[in-house]
């Protein structure tokens, strides 16, 4: 398999820093138009908005559930091999992962229907990269310690090798509708254009060396492993070319795939906001219920079979007719036949990582900050309007489908509005990556110009190298309210 070391290192290194897709600060922060992307049924107040191209939404999330950069690379005088053994090999479990998510909002436009002012339409295009690599604990132990010594008798679980990644361009169109004074619903259709994708599918198997039945050791391996890739070979081919046009060729390939020249797929988002009473609101959304059919630039790698080996064996007199000089080669050939490594170019379907959000919000501190000046669209109706209150307190849940099950996070938040032009949201989030994740989001409105900045795990900035999680999201929009 021709995957240059530089790419593998880059992926792993990115994985050390980048992390899950939970956007708890943006979720239900309805002053920011991009909150429509995490809940198409969020309340919308603006008449229209235009995101500044490429600068309307940039998000980078970073972290690791296991070892941090500081754990390994701190200049602490401890032997590096010891640190790797104690903190990485022994310290991490197969449930730990390195993952990366980044999103760049290329185009983001929204407007209220002229004939149907209760509807808010939004569309645009964004690019997203999402990679998750689970820590292959048993394989790491096998590589670090081998199958000998104290590992005789140990079964190494080959299913520990689990990873998934993709870069995809998403073109979307959504409708947000105020159904009543208490209910807003929304849906968004998506067309995915894949730039690359790779995934392992339910790898299973084991590798074990035990006391042999005849000889001293018996080594057995059972494997059913597959790595599916699409779009990767084309990129590697360009990188391996020595033509001096690498950057141009990559850009050309990238642009082609961004503009529907790659593998295509369809997806769907849905969400709602429901006001239980004037001060209490619940919301929910489901994102990326979709798939991509990968049929172009496919290369899949498989290892399937089982084999048992006790070395070269000769039984006399039974084996006399078979004796020759090539017993070793015969043994190797037998193993390769029993456990064939194969490549194919069969198309496959990859599912997008489904995400589900839910929240409850309690508003208090009457202020009437928005509805008098901005008009606040169809939702400006005094006590029916969340923005009528200065403060909000609530909780959020986040679930995401990952290769090894559902990843969950719980968030508590407090939101404060200071006048018409400024609001902030602070969150505390607990998930598998961190139990001390405090985030802060700021939204600034200067006339029609909207700027927002959302930063996560602020405590981690005390020593960013030791942080399990860090994320940053910001963007610019031009927003028109009903009266301007």
């Amino acid at each position: 398999m021709r995957i240059p070391r530089s790419i593998l290192w880059a992926i792993l290194f990115m994985g050390m820093f980048l992390q899950a897709q939970n956007k708890q600060l943006l979720y239900d922060f309805y002053e920011i138009p991009q909150s429509l992307l995490v809940n198409p049924g969020v309340k919308t107040f603006q008449k229209w908005h235009i995101g500044v191209p490429v600068l309307s939404g940039l998000s980078f999330q970073v972290g690791t559930s296991g070892v941090t950069v500081n754990d390994l690379f701190a200049d602490d005088g401890i032997d590096f091999t010891t640190k790797v053994r104690e903190r990485l090999i022994d310290g991490m479990s197969r449930k730990d992962d390195f993952s990366t998510t980044s999103q760049i909002d290329g185009i983001n436009i929204g407007f209220r229907g002229k004939n149907r002012p209760d509807d808010y339409y939004s569309f645009g295009m964004y690019g997203e990269t999402d990679i998750i690599v689970y820590w292959p604990k048993d394989l790491a132990i096998l590589a670090f310690e081998g199958n000998g010594g104290n590992n005789i008798g140990r079964s190494f679980d080959l299913s520990d090798l689990s990873l998934r990644g993709e870069m995809v361009n998403v073109t979307h169109f959504g409708v947000n509708r105020k159904v009543s004074n208490t209910l807003t619903v929304g849906a968004r259709a998506k067309i995915y254009s894949s730039i690359f994708q790779f995934q392992t599918i339910q790898n299973s198997g084991s590798f074990r060396t035990t006391q042999g039945q005849d000889n001293i050791y018996s080594t057995s391996i059972t494997a059913d492993m597959q790595l599916q890739t699409s779009g990767v070979e084309g990129i590697i081919d360009i990188l391996e070319e020595d033509t001096g046009t690498t950057q141009r060729d990559l850009t050309k390939l990238f642009m082609k795939r961004v503009l529907f020249g790659g593998n295509l797929g369809l997806g769907f988002d849905a969400g709602f906001t429901y006001q239980l009473n004037p001060q209490t609101t619940i919301t929910g959304s489901m994102l990326d219920l979709g798939f991509i059919y990968n049929s172009k630039d496919i290369k899949n790698y498989t290892v399937r079979g089982s084999a048992n080996n006790e070395g070269i064996t000769v039984f006399l007199p039974e084996d006399i007719p078979d004796l020759n000089n090539n017993l070793w080669e015969d043994l190797v050939d037998e193993l390769e036949e029993a456990l064939p490594y194969e490549e194919n170019d069969e198309g496959y379907i990859s599912f997008r990582p489904l995400k589900v959000y839910g929240s409850i919000r309690y508003n208090f501190g009457e202020g009437g900050v928005f509805d008098e000046n901005c008009g606040c669209g169809v939702n400006a109706q005094g006590g029916q309007n969340d923005a009528f209150y200065r403060n909000s307190l609530g909780g959020q849940l986040f679930f995401m489908k990952r290769p090894r099950g559902v990843q969950a996070a719980v968030t508590g938040f407090f939101q404060k509005r200071l006048g018409r032009g400024f609001s902030f949201k602070t969150t505390y989030t607990a998930d598998k990556y961190s139990l001390t994740n405090i985030g802060l989001g700021l939204n600034l409105q200067l006339g029609p110009i909207n700027f927002y900045m959302l930063g996560d795990n602020l405590l981690g900035y005390r020593n960013i190298a030791d942080s399990h999680y860090a994320s940053l999201q910001f963007g610019f929009n031009i927003i028109s309210w009903n009266d301007n």
């Binding site: 690379f73 000998g148 007199p317 020593n463 960013i464």
Partner: protein
């Protein structure tokens, strides 16, 4: 427009830069990483019934074979092999003394090393020998230049007697446990 967008952006980035810290990191430590797994595997197993040994006759090889064996001199392995042990176990339940010789041959057929075992007739205890290769032991280059094994077994006794033990036979077991430097 640039005046509108960039000042707040720069301000916030500056804020993060001012308040974020990082302990000193030394990424050159990666060069100090030592990954030295120990790999274990059986090598060769020979089993011969006493009936076969008698049929071949005495003072002659009832088994002699050169086996191409490139396990250690593969470039990837040879460059990384640090040290290790080859373990031999011999079990003889036949009624005769036996001799087993294992010669390590290079690509030209020259003998690099030899292990000679004189095995007593039954009842003899299980014979076990561990041969260490590496610092303080045999030269590791014997293995890294070995491309064949010549294994021979001969009967030093008679060719008529039969052991009173059930299912009399000669068994030779061998396995290797070696340490490699991957990084």
């Amino acid at each position: 427009m640039r005046r509108l967008f960039f000042p707040p952006l720069l301000a916030v980035i500056a804020l993060f830069l001012i308040f974020s810290c990082a302990e000193k990191q030394d990424f050159n430590q990666f060069d100090d990483l030592e990954v030295t797994p120990t790999v274990a595997s059986s090598i060769f197993y020979l089993e011969s019934e006493e009936q076969h040994i008698n049929a071949v006759g005495n003072f002659t090889d009832f088994y002699s074979q050169i086996v191409n064996f490139e396990a250690f001199n593969e470039e990837f392995v040879a460059e990384r092999l640090l040290e290790g042990t080859i373990t031999y176990e011999i079990e003889n339940t036949t009624s005769k003394d036996l001799n087993i010789t294992i010669e390590f041959l290079d690509a030209e057929g020259n003998v690099l090393d030899a292990q000679v075992f004189d095995v007593d007739q039954a009842p003899a205890p299980l014979f076990s020998l561990e041969v260490f290769y590496g610092p303080g032991g045999k030269n590791i280059e014997i293995l890294t230049t070995t491309s064949g094994l010549r294994i021979s077994a001969s009967n030093l006794g008679d060719s008529a007697s039969v052991s009173s033990l059930p299912d009399p036979k000669l068994i030779l077991r061998s396995a290797a446990e070696f340490t490699f430097r991957l990084q």
